[in-house]
């Protein structure tokens, strides 16, 4: 027997007409509308996120890539729109008053990547190109040079990559803050390294062959990191990157792996997206995560028990974060959602 579908709750709106000169009126108390754009990165683009949220919030209604949930306790009407393209992600970040969630890989600070799954190898990393380079590919986040662990990413996924030659001058402006510029080489700081023999064929052409003895920038002790040019082979997103985006959304929640480490310095630091009063909230993840956190995050936000319409979102977001983290801890997920002020 099929499960019984929950009935959509009726909304206010039944009103009386008035005749001319009649002083009577109707009153309707408006609910606050909170809109969330959930941007699905390339590797999550076919995940049924709305269905997962509905499992936790059965009263939510789904229509294609959008959903609605009305919290009478909060006096808030929540809507969700799923998007899968770079342009839509940019538009969402630039829309005042909304909540933007990114679900996908953080790419160590290179940024979100959009395209269609399945996307193995370079596609997983770079996105599936389209002629205008508007909707797919990496949404570049801002630092030209990013450190990538060789064992964890380059070998594992088999990408082609563009390492930074040791002739490139390193400084605070072109290096992601995770690159330990001030640390000595003995303690795992930045130093010149050679490309491992097995990876040489994966190195992209820089106008010169990868010569024996050519040196590149690297760092790390046990796990060697290479400094890569952040857009890998060629930028396909210029100029539509974070630098050309005027972030105006009310809250951003970046649920990709270790976004606290990889994206927080960019979004809060270099980009200067700050919290002020009841605007500019930002949430990040502290370690390697997965997409199961997305529905828990949204469902707990919907379940905040008190009225908070037309008030700051902070209490309800913090309620969600606390409940989310309890669940993540209970199941041994190994990561938490962190709020960044």
């Amino acid at each position: 027997m099929a499960p019984k579908k929950p009935k959509k709750r009726p909304m206010p709106g039944k009103v009386a007409r008035s005749t001319f000169g009649d002083p009577k009126f109707n009153t309707i108390v408006l609910y606050e509308h909170r809109h969330t754009v959930m941007a699905l990165g390339i590797q999550f683009s076919d995940e049924p996120l709305l269905k997962w949220i509905k499992k936790l919030v059965p009263d939510m209604t789904i229509s294609g890539d959008s959903a609605e949930y009305i919290s009478h306790d909060q006096h808030v009407r929540y809507t969700i729109q799923i998007v899968r393209t770079k342009q839509e992600f940019k538009n969402a970040l630039e829309t005042p008053g909304i909540h933007v969630v990114y679900s996908g890989h953080a790419r160590y600070g290179r940024g979100p990547c959009f395209g269609l799954n399945p996307a193995n190898g370079d596609n997983w990393e770079m996105g599936t190109d389209d002629p205008g380079f508007i909707n797919t590919g990496i949404f570049r986040m801002g630092f030209p040079l990013i450190g990538i662990p060789i064992s964890a990413d380059i070998k594992h996924h088999g990408y082609h990559f563009l390492p930074a030659l040791s002739s490139v001058e390193l400084n605070d402006d072109n290096c992601h803050p995770e690159i330990p510029l001030g640390r000595s080489a003995k303690r795992g700081g930045v130093r010149t390294v050679s490309i491992p023999e097995k990876l040489k064929e994966k190195v992209l052409d820089q106008g010169q062959p990868v010569l024996d003895g050519e040196s590149y920038w690297g760092f790390g002790s046990r796990d060697m990191n290479l400094l890569l040019v952040a857009d890998w082979n060629k930028s396909i997103s210029t100029p539509m990157d974070l630098g050309a985006t005027n972030i105006q959304c009310k809250c951003s929640t970046f649920l990709g792996c270790s976004t606290l480490k990889h994206w927080q310095p960019i979004v809060r630091g270099r980009k200067g997206f700050k919290q002020s009063d009841a605007e500019g909230f930002a949430y990040f993840v502290d370690r390697v995560s997965d997409s199961t956190v997305d529905p828990i995050w949204m469902a707990n936000w919907f379940k905040f028990p008190d009225r908070n319409d037309f008030e700051s979102w902070e209490p309800s977001l913090e309620f969600s974060r606390t409940r989310c983290n309890k669940t993540l801890t209970a199941v041994g997920a190994g990561f938490l959602i962190k709020k960044d002020l």
Binding site: P10, P12, F20, L30, T95
Partner: protein, 225 residues
């Protein structure tokens, strides 16, 4: 067995059965009559005495529609003449509240199928006061200026009298007090009881949880009709 707080209905004995969404104004427009001719017709006195408001009789109530009055005019046959039927204008008067304060000085757009969109700005009390087509049954009210601002689907003439429980529930819901998933089902269940208690507490009325006369009066006052 649920407790029944409603007055007896349907009322009236005329031939015209009121349908969902209709009121005396819309029926009058349909019959090409001024609404007062229907409302003040002695045959409709029972309904008038009970509900006191021509704009919210109940579905299934029965109205008597008086005959259309005829008039003789003497005009020359070698000229064209214009005769105008005056139909009483019908209005929507709607006060919007957001977060317990008037939704004042905010732009709105009211879209009604088959009619031009009505745009304007709420006044300092959050009031919208606009003419609508007499036969309009529904409209979509968009408030605010950006796509993620809210909209409400309005059902004109669907507000039942406060004397019946559905009318009580509809007013509670319009005032932002949830009556549960069943909404305005006319059944006095625990969700309606809790909604009434919430309203009574807010208005510092005796918390009976029942739609007593004081509560109905306060609802009518707060809702505006």
């Amino acid at each position: 067995m649920p407790e029944n707080f409603d007055k007896t209905h349907p009322m009236g004995s005329g031939d015209r059965v009121v349908e969902q969404g209709e009121c005396v104004s819309s029926i009058a427009a349909d019959a090409h009559l001024p609404w007062k001719r229907i409302w003040n017709d002695p045959a409709n006195s029972d309904l008038k005495a009970e509900f006191k408001d021509p704009n919210n009789p109940l579905p299934r109530d029965r109205l008597t529609i008086p005959d259309v009055a005829t008039a003789d005019f003497s005009k020359p046959t070698d000229a064209s003449h214009t005769f105008t039927t005056v139909i009483d204008p019908v209005k929507l008067r709607l006060r919007l509240i957001a977060g317990d304060v008037a939704f004042s000085d905010q732009p709105f757009t009211l879209t009604i199928a088959g009619a031009d969109a009505i745009t304007g700005t709420t006044d300092s009390n959050g009031l919208i006061d606009v003419k609508i087509p007499p036969d309009a049954m529904t409209g979509t009210l968009q408030v605010g200026t950006t796509p993620h601002d809210d909209f409400i689907v309005l059902q004109f003439g669907s507000l039942n009298p406060v004397e019946v429980l559905t009318g009580v529930q509809q007013r509670l819901m319009n005032l932002g007090i949830d009556c549960g998933p069943a909404g305005d089902d006319g059944i006095y269940g625990h969700r309606t009881q809790h909604a009434l208690l919430a309203f009574q507490n807010k208005m510092t009325l005796e918390p009976t949880g029942k739609p007593d006369d004081d509560t109905r009066d306060a609802l009518k006052r707060e809702h505006g009709c």
